[in-house]
Amino acid sequence: MMRLPGCALLLAASCAIADDISPWTGTVDAAGLAREEMNLWAESEEFDKALARAGKVRNDPALNAYLQGIMDKLYPEFNGKLRVRALDAPHLNAFAMPNGSIYINTGLLARLQNEAQLATVLAHEGVHFVHRHSFQQSERVKNAATFALVVGMLGVPFLGDIAALTSMTGFSQEHETEADNTGYQRLIAAGYSAREAPKTFEHLIAEIKALDINEPFFFASHPKLQDRVENFGELAKNAVNGKVGQEEFIQHVRQVRLFTLQEDLSAYRFKQLILVLSDPDRRREYPPEASYFLGEAYRLRGKDGDLELAEREYTLALELAPDFAPSYRALGLLHYKRGERLLAAPLFKRYLELMPEATDRGYVEHYLKESGS
């Protein structure tokens, strides 16, 4: 679901929910689909293939099995028909295709705090498939700007790919509300903590506001973000405690978190890194190597005092994760740029010992040579 201010009215205006389309009940009979819906399914299959060919689907069987396990717990009668996979993409987004393919971006996955919040997202997406929202909408969003935006986001051709477009740009307000409310019921039935549902949105509002994110993200389509927080808060008011699942979540997404830290760093998204990692509560959710990434983010931001902050974080990373090679390089470079070659040299050497196959080996050897080592 995606916030597209220019398209919101169009989406709302174009929605016409058909009342006679029954939700799937567990038996999904693809052969019995009407022609229009068959086309949507065929498009979805093509989209699935294009994502896989482009290498966008995260190659992490353990993670995908974990996600699938949660989905199967939420929708047990569907026997795996809703297939969940993580996508290597930085945006805070998740979406459901008409054929039951559910995707959650690593960018969103890394930002969630526990399994109950993840289940909130997956339960919501599952409703879009079960209630056949793609097919229910009688009009499709076709404007070129939306197409261009969606193509730019994932880089797969969307010519005529209505299924993907509808899924990724979001459904009508009624459908989104239905997905929230019905998804909530699934969450409770599966034994998850209802109190985590509003938190799924709350802790991300601050990030979205602070970074002034103007990109597709899960939470900002219809209805308004704050409304959804309040809606879930109301639903969860009298809910009994349920499973939160923080520890197992953290364990399963550890690699995803490191991956997204690296992705954010490589793409110079240092604001996100600083916002997330400088918060001690959120920092605790990340592996110890995170200190290196925070250090790098300070270095890239480059405000007054940031180099000192960077140095502090690199040093902390060396203590907490002594086998994590990039920290040595980063601290070595900091000393090198200051002209402190004697301090830099042993750090560079240690970096190359820990990472003999480093693709940037040539630079580091050059620095060592310049340092007289």
Binding site: N39, R53, P157, L159, G160, D161
Partner: protein, 237 residues
């Protein structure tokens, strides 16, 4: 004077359209191939053609059943032509392992680009590109050679294209860009066919057609198109 200015405008605007009329490009080596080296068995690659509908409201949507029909029509037309021609036989793609399918897919991706390059520059008609007339070295490489071993075929035939069927009479003011880098006005079809040597990957021949009236769902029309394509093949009867 108004008529003259209108004619000039029309001419200027239609220049790209004139350039996209049906044409072919042939590897110079193919023309002089002795008979015993000409393709004997041609593997029909799964056609990369889609059919979409454009409604009166300007909505375009791929139609899976039409696409399947059009692709089947292309394969059947190629098979019919082979029977009538008698100089080569055809076979359809056998089942592939996931790894083999991945290799084929990436080579089709390369073919998209090669076909576009041949169309735009490979004929050597444009200024600066005259060299290509004599230095034809467009190739897919030897990555598909395993298909030769698997099937016994010596060449592969690939159809790529799009057919945007306009219903409701809407006239589109915009074009759709195909993966092969061609832009076609909506309500038209654009189909290309290419032949590649499976051992070396060398592109031997390409032909294109653009039409406002063809309906690729109709077997007869596609058969006629494929017959026209093969008229430009050097080894046609």
């Amino acid at each position: 004077m108004r008529i003259i200015s209108s004619v000039i405008l029309l001419l200027a605007l239609s220049l790209p359209g004139l350039c996209l009329a049906a044409f072919s490009a042939v590897n110079p080596k193919l023309s002089v191939q002795p008979q015993d080296q000409q393709p004997r068995k041609i593997l029909l690659m799964p056609p990369q053609m889609f059919v979409a509908e454009m409604s009166a409201g300007g909505v375009i949507q791929k139609q899976d059943d039409w696409t399947k029909q059009a692709n089947e029509n292309l394969l059947a037309a190629a098979e019919t032509h082979a029977r009538e021609n008698g100089r080569f036989e055809t076979m359809r793609m056998p089942a592939l392992s996931p790894e083999e399918a991945e290799i084929v897919e990436s080579h089709i991706g390369l073919y998209d680009r090669v076909a576009s390059a041949i169309h735009a520059y490979g004929q050597g008609r444009d200024s600066g590109w005259e060299l290509k007339k004599s230095e034809w070295d467009y190739t897919l490489g030897d990555g598909l050679a395993f298909l030769r071993e698997k099937t016994g075929a010596d060449s592969a035939l690939i159809f790529v294209g799009a057919d945007i069927i306009s219903t409701g009479g809407r006239k589109a003011a915009f074009t759709v860009g195909l993966l092969i880098g061609i832009a076609i006005p909506l309500g038209q079809s654009f189909i290309t066919v290419g032949l590649a040597d499976l051992k070396t990957g060398e592109i031997q021949w390409l032909s294109y057609d653009q039409s406002m009236s063809m309906d690729s769902r109709e077997a007869g029309e596609v058969e006629k198109l494929v017959r026209e394509f093969f008229k430009t093949w050097p080894h046609s009867k």
